[in-house]
């Protein structure tokens, strides 16, 4: 379970986060939806303890990130944007390395790596160096890294960018499976279909604030629109109206 409480952060005189609060439950897929520059990545980086919030705090399974970052990180898997691959390592080496860093023994890491490689159908690229990989291959490698150690909480930053239809389906199945297993999945996106198809809970963000949250249906109902996309535009637009 991931909880952020009243997060505030100024980056170069811009309010990247302005009193942001929401929570992502275990066994749920929570979508962080917002236009470019809404503060999604800043929020996720704060949850990981990479950024210090000016005010407020993030909490992972009841552990406050700024108080015990090591213990908090232990409960997390991260799929970052950009991927952050090591070009000279093969996906197998890369995934195994991060599995070990997350606390697995060498043998356990090896087995887990093999499992996740098969699960993501990337056996063909597993032993090639990452240099020259396509966007989709990079994404799969990064995704494997995020889930290899079976963390309770998984955070994905724009996980569908650059994926083809087949890979998107794999990702979707994977996220649903993680949800079934009771993991807490939090992902940021601006692709409406993804969010509509997957999320149990949607948090709509704009200008560092939460403008609305609920199930996709609730959001549609709230705005009186038929699709999430329409609802989203109304939510964001109304925010801009207030701000103006």
């Amino acid at each position: 379970m991931i909880k952020v409480h009243n997060l505030k952060k100024q980056i170069a005189s811009v309010d990247a986060m302005d009193g942001l609060s929401f929570s992502a439950e275990n066994g749920h897929i929570t979508g962080l939806l917002g236009p470019n520059g809404a503060g999604k990545t800043t929020c996720l980086r704060t949850v990981f303890g990479l950024l210090q919030a000016d005010d407020g705090y993030a909490e992972i399974d009841g552990i406050k990130v700024h108080e015990d970052p090591m213990a908090a990180k232990q409960q997390l898997g991260l799929f970052p944007d950009p991927c952050g691959l090591y070009e000279r390592l093969t996906p197998r080496e890369y995934i195994e390395f991060y599995a070990q860093l997350s606390g697995m023994t060498k043998t356990a890491a090896k087995a887990a790596t093999q499992r996740v490689i098969e699960q993501l159908k990337m056996t063909d690229i597993a032993d090639r160096r990452c240099q020259g990989f396509s966007q989709g291959q990079r994404m799969k490698t990064a995704l494997a890294q995020a889930i290899v150690h079976q963390p309770r909480n998984i955070i994905l930053d724009e996980p569908t960018r650059g994926l083809d239809v087949m890979s998107t389906r794999v990702l979707r199945e994977l996220l649903l499976m993680l949800k079934e297993q009771g993991h807490c999945v939090l992902f940021s996106s601006h692709v409406m279909q993804e969010v509509a198809a997957l999320c149990d809970h949607v948090v709509v963000m704009a200008k560092g604030k939460v403008v609305a949250q609920g199930t996709p249906d609730q959001l549609c109902e709230q705005t009186g629109k038929a699709s999430l996309e329409e609802a989203f535009i109304v939510l964001i637009g109304s925010d801009e109206g207030i701000a103006a």
Partner: protein, 378 residues
């Protein structure tokens, strides 16, 4: 604590080993430097051992055949070719007469003494003439039944206390300089790649999102870079051992022999330097905002150890700087080649100083990794 460092250390080694460009840059120095030095020394030694024939213009040579013959035996002779030095030796017209009557015969050296390139040749000619002078004078005294020893009121004797090996001071300085600098240069590119490069490729943020502290990250990286530094040092030592064995030292009466003991001791005193150099590389690279910027900063910062090493090589302020890092280690290596005892006090103090710098740079780097400005290159 050590487990995380070890996992990252192994990954860094594998990553660095596959970074062919950086590894080649390191190897290039370790192989190239001793070989270039070797060629340079061989040419220098040849010049020092056999002085070139000095060609000058001698006017009136036929009036003084004995003098001309004497000069010739000292490799000074008349020539009309292009390689003649602008030095003229004029033998006066009454030279033969003066000689025959036991008077001072006049010879005139005409040359521009302000020309620094010429001054050595002029001195050589003057010395040869003086020697001829005392030889003839001695003969004259003997002919008159006087002991030529009377002319020598002072018997100046110089006892050269320099051991043959000590004479090669400058050569020793340059040899050890090229060895010490290998510690810095053989892992320079790797150091930049693993810090500034890692940030530029966006993998630093992901690494920091995992449960390991910034101190563990810095320690693992420093250990990996230092490992490559030590490998570079070992390589340059082995290549030097064989390369310098081929230089014809005997012409100068000393030799530079790098034995196994020297190699082992150098490796041990090189470890603190390697740690210091690695932590410095990381610190400077993280200070920079990009890979390119890091490259130029590192090149500038490396002037400091090179400068310290140069000062030792050229024997500048040795008393003071022999207590400083790098200078002290190099001084110890020079003493070792000379066959003297290791200067334990300066070496110990400097090694502790070197390790203190390593600790400082490591601490500062790990603090920097906690700053979001540094991590995201803001």
């Amino acid at each position: 604590m050590m487990r995380q460092v070890n996992i990252l250390f192994k990954k860094e080694l594998l990553d660095a080993y596959r970074d062919k460009r950086s590894v080649m840059a390191g190897l290039y120095y370790a192989f190239g430097a001793p070989i270039v030095m070797c060629l340079l020394f061989s040419i220098l030694l040849q010049q020092m051992a056999s002085p070139e024939a000095l060609k000058i213009t001698i006017e009136g040579a036929d009036r003084a055949p004995n003098l001309v013959q004497y000069l010739d035996s000292a490799e000074i002779s008349h020539s009309d070719a292009d390689d003649v030095k602008p030095i003229r030796l004029e033998i006066s017209e009454d030279y033969q007469q003066d000689m025959a009557h036991g008077r001072s015969a006049t010879v005139v050296i005409v040359a521009d003494k302000s020309d620094s390139k010429l001054i050595k040749s002029v001195r050589r000619l003057e010395t040869a003439l003086l020697r001829y002078n005392s030889e003839v004078a001695g003969l004259r005294l003997v002919a008159r039944g006087i002991d030529p020893g009377l002319m020598r009121a002072l018997d100046v004797q110089t006892h050269d206390q320099a051991t043959p090996d000590a004479k090669g001071g400058l050569f020793l300085g340059i040899v050890t300089l090229s060895i010490i600098i290998a510690v810095f240069y053989s892992a320079m590119n790797l150091g930049i790649d693993t810090s500034a490069g890692e940030r530029e490729r966006n993998s630093l943020a992901l690494l920091l999102s995992h449960p390991l502290s910034s101190m563990q990250i810095v320690l693992a990286k420093v250990a990996a870079i230092a490992t490559f530094s030590i490998l570079g040092l070992a390589l340059v030592l082995v290549v030097s051992k064989f390369a310098y064995a081929m230089v014809a030292w005997e012409q100068l009466g000393f030799s530079i022999t790098l034995d196994i003991r020297f190699i082992l001791v150098s490796l041990i005193i090189g470890i603190p330097i390697a740690l210091m150099s690695a932590s410095m590389l990381i610190f400077v690279s993280f200070m920079a905002k990009s890979f390119k910027e890091a490259q130029s900063y590192v090149t500038m910062v490396l002037m400091v150890p090179v400068g310290l090493s140069m000062m030792t090589s050229y024997d500048i302020a040795t008393e003071t700087i022999q207590w400083l890092p790098i200078a002290a280690q190099q001084y110890a290596m020079i003493e070792l080649i000379k066959g003297n005892a290791l200067p334990y006090a300066p070496l110990g103090v400097a090694s502790v100083f070197t390790l203190a710098l390593f600790a400082l740079f490591t601490y500062l780097s790990s603090r920097m990794l906690k700053s979001e400005k540094v991590v995201f290159g803001l």
